[in-house]
């Protein structure tokens, strides 16, 4: 009995120790498990954070680091060299043009603008080779865009950008030497988000956007900033619409949406997935994506690893204007001449006959003397215009604006057409978003007083060039003064517009304050009864449109001349 009781006591004491030890073990196991669980969750969080950093870096780097080189020996690609820059405007020609996600909308926009010019010229019936050139530009823009799309959708080109940042971020809860690396596979995808929102291409002003006369941009092609709180400086801006076909000259042009001033940011999987082409069709056969997904993995050697996915929407945060930075308009002034007319067989207002050589004069007043016309009047042996008649008073001291637009003016409103063409073209040269040129601004450019001395210097044909020196302002100067201000002009200035010329102002006429007395030598047995001379000023203005394919946006050709009429008539004795 004693022995039994002793055993029971010992058992009681032992069970307490066993219980205590068991409880301690359970506590230790639970505690350690909890710590590991916390570390696992922390590791998952760190992996996710590193993946987020990696995809954000990918979305950022993809803007600039994945690029397509343009072939400058091919005119249809070379024409985009001036928009293959992050600057709005570059004074120097670009001999090594490259485009990327940041710039691709500029290429599409310039191609669109060329095709708009071509369509407007077709409307006017003077497209010439502009239609084919614009089509070549479209084909090249599409080819460049397709190449860029191929590169951007090839995940192998993106892994490096991901690893660059993901590997720098610590995942110490998994292991101090562990790094998050890209995990190639089906989870690296692209998406076309923010559909119908704005691209980073700003239009000139508001509708009709200073486009050429004869072209109307479809209302569905433009939009205001789609952000809920539009930044103040963009509230009045219109942008081309992203992932929306924009038609011109029979082609569809595309833009990648980039909300104004929006930073590259992470997006949710559900929105990303819903905007993938596979889930939401897009008419663009090879769209350039603006959103990317990535998968990363933190792998501890010989142990467990953790994976995470992230999705990000890219944005260059840089608006550009739809423009042609390296483009110009030529203003050609024909040689001005004085023509001498006589009435050998009739009298005013019947038609006169020109006789004798026309005499050139310049933009300073000059005197001209015509040759005597034998039988230059009824019963006249000769009629000689009065010597040393003053010409050029209609152009002396005038600005280029006055040379083009002032008297004589046409009755058909031709000058207003020229105004519209020139204002449109100047707006196509402006590259600064938000800056526009009004008709009044256009006149101011052509009214620059510094042009007057260049007009006055010598006689003969004269050329002036309208171009931008900084993307914000427009100048009009002769070539030798233009080159230092815009060195790119040197390689482009010889190009003529690809359209054909049409006369917009056709022989506008104005009486000139020129009165004279011709010298009449009567036929035998006749005596003079009429010796009257007068003059008139005349003007033609022609427009030859250019698409901008070769940098030339058009030529305005101005022809001015003076007609000196000499009416002599005699009576028989």
């Amino acid at each position: 009995m004693k022995i039994r009781n002793a055993l029971i006591d010992k058992k009681r004491r032992g069970s307490a120790f066993v219980f205590g030890t068991g409880l301690a073990l359970v506590l230790v196991v639970l505690g350690v498990s909890f710590v590991f669980l916390m570390m696992y969750m922390g590791g998952q969080n760190e992996t996710k954070n590193a993946t987020d950093a990696g995809i954000l870096n990918t979305a950022k780097r993809a803007l600039d680091q994945i690029s397509i080189k343009l072939n400058v020996t091919d005119d249809s690609e070379k024409c985009f060299a001036d928009v293959c820059t992050d600057k709005n405007y570059d004074k120097l020609p670009n001999f090594l043009p490259e485009t990327n996600l940041r710039r691709i909308n500029r290429i599409w926009a310039k191609a669109l603008l060329m095709n708009i010019n071509a369509e407007a010229a077709q409307h006017d019936g003077n497209a010439g080779s502009g239609t084919n050139n614009a089509t070549s530009a479209y084909n090249s823009a599409k080819s460049i865009s397709d190449k860029l799309a191929d590169k951007l959708t090839n995940q192998g080109n993106l892994h490096g950008f991901f690893d660059e940042l993901s590997q720098q971020n610590s995942v110490r809860m998994i292991g101090t030497t562990v790094q998050v690396k890209s995990l190639p596979g089906a989870n690296w995808q692209t998406s076309e988000m923010d559909r119908q929102d704005e691209s980073n291409i700003v239009l000139s002003g508001s509708s009709p956007f200073n486009l050429p006369p004869g072209f109307t941009l479809n209302a569905a092609a433009s939009t205001k900033c789609a952000r809920p709180n539009v930044p103040a400086n963009a509230q009045n801006w219109f942008f081309l619409k992203g992932y929306q076909p924009i038609s011109a000259n029979g082609h569809d042009f595309w833009q990648v949406p980039f909300q104004y001033d929006q930073k590259p940011h992470l997006v949710s999987k559900s929105i990303f997935d819903s905007d993938k082409v596979a889930n939401k069709a897009l008419a663009w056969d090879k769209p350039i994506p603006n959103a990317y997904s990535a998968e990363g993995q933190a792998l501890k050697a010989g142990a467990y690893g953790e994976k995470a996915m992230s999705w990000a929407l890219s944005n260059p945060r840089q608006p550009f204007k739809m423009c042609m930075p390296h483009s110009f308009v030529k203003i050609h002034l024909d040689d001005m001449k004085a023509h001498f007319y006589f009435y050998p067989f009739d009298f005013p207002p019947l038609p006169a006959i020109e006789f004798g050589p026309a005499i050139s004069y310049g933009y300073l007043t000059d005197t001209v003397s015509g040759a005597p016309m034998p039988a230059g009047g009824i019963l006249c042996a000769t009629v000689t215009p009065q010597a040393s008649q003053l010409v050029g008073t209609d152009v002396v001291g005038r600005t280029l604006n006055q040379i083009i637009f002032s008297i004589p003016t046409s009755f058909g409103g031709g000058e207003s057409k020229i105004e519209a063409y020139l204002t449109n073209r100047m707006n196509e040269m402006i590259c600064e978003p938000g800056v526009t040129m009004s008709t009044s601004d256009m006149h101011n450019v052509l009214s620059a007083p510094e042009i007057i001395p260049f007009l006055a210097a010598g006689k003969g044909e004269k050329d002036f060039y309208v171009f931008s020196t900084d993307g914000k302002t427009i100048r009009c100067l002769p070539d030798y003064l233009a080159f230092p201000l815009a060195p790119w002009l040197a390689t482009e200035i010889s190009h003529d517009p690809d359209g054909t010329e049409s006369k917009i102002v056709n022989d506008a006429e104005s009486p000139a304050p020129m009165f004279s007395t011709p010298i009449v030598v009567p036929d035998p047995f006749c005596t003079p009864f009429m010796q009257v001379g007068w003059g008139s000023w005349h003007k033609d203005v022609a427009w030859r449109p250019g698409t901008g394919y070769n940098s030339c946006l058009g030529t305005v050709r101005v022809k001015r001349w003076t007609e000196i009429m000499s009416w002599g008539a005699c009576n028989p004795l």
Binding site: N5, D9, R12, R13, A16, F17, F19, G20, T21, L23, A24, L27, V28, G31, V32, F34, V35, M38, M39, M41, G42, N45, E46, N49, A53, L56, N57, K60, R61, D86, K87, N88, R102, L165, Q168, N169, S170, M173, K263, P264, H265, P316, R317, Q318
Partner: protein
């Protein structure tokens, strides 16, 4: 006499077990605190770096980073302080190191307060290209 001896031995057993269990529990509690604090520090570093990366320059980045960690600075019996140790706003990336100073709930001699660093690197997305 036997009953008294049994009660005594049970008391001794309880003390023996307690001397093992209580330190284990306290150590585990401290461990959990350390893990949670580190996780919080990671999040703070991440938030600060991302806020800084959204700014256009270093000055604004520092302000944004401070603002981002403000919610972590609420008075707490565990967290003595959480601060930005280093913020480097570079050309392409922002690196942010935060330090958390915690007071262990069950301090051991020599381990009353502990400091941990967390570092996060983010790509700068707030900088604009100058045209």
């Amino acid at each position: 006499m036997r009953k008294r001896a049994a009660r005594g031995s049970s008391f001794i057993e309880a003390i023996c077990i307690a001397t093992v269990l209580i330190p284990i529990t306290l150590v585990l509690l401290d461990c959990i605190t350390i893990v949670i604090a580190n996780s919080m520090n990671d999040t703070a570093a991440k938030n600060a770096a991302r806020a800084a990366a959204s700014q256009e320059d270093g000055g604004n980045a520092a302000l944004a980073a401070e603002k981002a960690i403000a919610p972590f600075k609420k008075p707490s019996p565990i967290i003595n302080s959480l601060s930005i140790k280093e913020l480097a706003y570079g050309a392409d990336t922002v690196s942010c190191t935060t330090t958390i100073d915690i007071h262990l709930p069950m301090p051991f001699p020599g381990y009353t307060n502990l400091k941990f660093d967390a570092k996060d690197i983010e790509p700068i997305v707030g900088k604009k290209v100058n045209p």
